[in-house]
Amino acid sequence: MKEKIIMLGNEAIARGIYEAGVKVSSAYPGTPSTEISEKLAKFNEVYTEWAPNEKVALEVAIGASIAGVRSFACMKHVGLNVASDPLYTFAYTGVNGGSVIVVADDPGLASSQNEQDTRMIARSAHIPVLEPSDSMEAKEFVKIGYELSEKYDTPVILRTTTKLAHSQGVVELCDRVEVEDKTYARDVKKYVMMPASAIGRHLVVEDREKRLKADCSNFEINKVEMLDTKIGIITSGIPYQYVKEACPNASVLKLGMVNPLPESLIKDFASKVDVLYVVEELEPVIEEQVKSWGIKAIGKEIFTLQGEYNANMIRKAILGVENVSFDAKQTPVRPPILCPGCPHRSVFSVLKKLKVHASGDIGCYTLGAVAPLGVIDTTVCMGASISMLHGMEKACGKEFIKDKVAVIGDSTFLHTGVNSLINMVYNKSTATVIILDNRTTGMTGHQEHAATGKTLKGEETYAIDLKVLCQSIGVPNVVEVNSFDVKTLEKTVKECLAGHVLSVIIAKAPCALLKGLKFNKFCKIDTEKCKKCGMCLSIGCPAITKKDDGTVVIDDTMCNGCGLCLNYCKFSAIEKVGR
């Protein structure tokens, strides 16, 4: 009997990649896709790396494919925007060794800036999309993806969502299949996408999609479960599980491939049921196509475009039945917050004191937008903090940005922030940029990057020096400061904002959650000296709380002894003590 274990969706995908005989993988971390690369890195048979961004990762996978091996790249939905440039043309070149790209959508916004639907991009790029509905399928669909990729000479997207990526299910393991490398052959018409070649390849793309459309009605992963024919439901992915839970007697057409759609299979299914529903999270991708074929169906008329679905919601919408439950109680919200000992808090406390606001970026530090710190004014996408501040200066002049900075993490800076900084140098900016250098990719769970000196596999490597990098592209004023040295930091921010040249402040201190860090001290409040003024509470550290009687206390199990609160106590009532 095959070994059965419980696996996270992302771990199952990694296992599938291993079993499929893949040799090269490249990715940039992004919730909910990150664990795939981390799990994959444990297999010696697969070369696995962190790339500085998703565009680079996909290009690495394309190169590896053309060289003749099975290759892999993965990213979150917004990462696909960054990788769109190579993606659209990868559809034209096709593959040599098979290539699968996992793209993880985030309906419900567990950890993202928007709710875009990858199927829309895949349709416009003419790339087939598979969508598994549990961990076991995730593993098997990866392998099917490689077979389809090689059979139809196309990259294949495997789309997941947060619920699939971060849920666990039972998986049966298989052995790795070693796939023979394909021969590398120079083929200008296929791999050099200049107009003369691309005209020809566009025809190939169209022909391929036609063949896939015709064939996929017979693919086993598109399957019909015929039960009561009063209700028929077309669905795919995780919503399939909700549908089975909500309407166990309904007939279901479960699509394993969501682009292109199996037209004849869908028409046949529709003809056998009285009322047809389409249940899909986010955009009405399946629904609109089904309706365009003249089939009557109910979809977004009764279902939302937003968030994650659930069985209760589907049961209510289709069957009109509501689950009996107690009413939700009124409770104070508990939003995520910066951890105790987080160096970002220190930098933000200085900005708050100076009444300086920030053009923000993507990372834990986005939490600096909320109370009590409240210094971040804008967040759009990776790298945008720097370019948006530049736009503000060009729009309203130097004076306008005299109380504004850009803040960006070290990993995000290397992702796409450096391009924006080059633009600032080139176009004569006088802005101040703060790189929040915490020596890791924090929010996604501590991944190495090009400035940490370690690879994904844990090997030693060259660590890019951010100061040297900024100087080498021509930033006239680059200053390194310890994030917890608030006096120097305050002085530096003031000087840079008062100056007339582009400045980069590299605020350095490791993320408090990094492995290997030892916290031998914690902070303690002397209740005799404490005047209960609440200044220490204003830095928003979760270890500091006020009791019902007004006494302010520091939880010694949470405190990491960073000592930031000491700087904000006017009565010297806080001291650092040893554990």
């Binding site: 059965k4 849920s167 009996v324 508990r334 939003p335 995520p336 986005t366 769970g445 204003s538 500091i544």
Partner: protein, 189 residues
């Protein structure tokens, strides 16, 4: 065949993931189909976190719907109140007797609800465990989640040895004895 919907809630960083994984593995070893759902990413940073464990002959969705929870295990009082409406009429709520103020309370924007346990007892069967005190008694405050797990395991069922086997195979080698001690301290409470 045993079938149960479990919801585990707490504050990011309290170790809810380890708890759900041990429950899930124990159910798998008992020959059941298991699904779990976890929270990763930004919400983990000190926010309210939810994990689900479901086991039965066949499980479809990895989450438990509002009104369908058999056992709610909460590592913090306010979080028990926040998710109590998920629990079935005859379900059980296990609360670790601990208070962590959300930032909204710290900065005075809202108040931490009073008498949470009494509120919960109006509608539900509630069992309270003081995980931290028990963990401190055995000398290691950091294993309080294993104490809560042990306490919950007794309510969930399965053989004690099955639990201990999974615990042994899941926690880091160096901490096995300590975790077993913590588990038993909770189990026998």
């Amino acid at each position: 065949m045993k079938s149960l919907n479990i919801m585990i809630v707490g504050v990011g960083g309290q170790g809810t993931l380890l708890t759900s994984r041990i429950i899930g593995k124990t159910a798998l070893n008992a020959g059941l189909d298991v699904k779990m759902s976890e929270v990763h990413g930004m919400a983990q940073r000190g926010g309210s976190v939810v994990t689900f464990v479901r086991f039965s002959e066949k499980v479809y969705e990895p989450v438990v719907e509002v009104g369908d929870v058999d056992v709610l295990i909460s590592f913090e009082r306010l979080e028990a109140l926040r998710y109590s409406h998920y629990v079935k009429k005859d379900g059980l709520i296990i609360v670790n007797d601990c208070r962590i103020d959300p930032m909204t309370v710290v900065i005075g924007a809202s108040e931490y609800p009073k008498n949470i346990i009494c509120e919960l007892e109006k509608e539900h069967n509630v069992k309270v465990v003081d995980g931290l005190s028990i963990a401190k008694e055995i000398g290691f405050p950091k294993v309080l989640n294993t104490v809560v797990l042990g306490f919950s395991a007794k309510q969930i069922g399965f053989e004690l040895n099955d639990w201990l086997n999974v615990l042994e195979n899941t926690v880091p080698q160096k901490t096995i004895e300590l975790n077993k001690k913590a588990f038993m301290a909770g189990y026998n409470k």
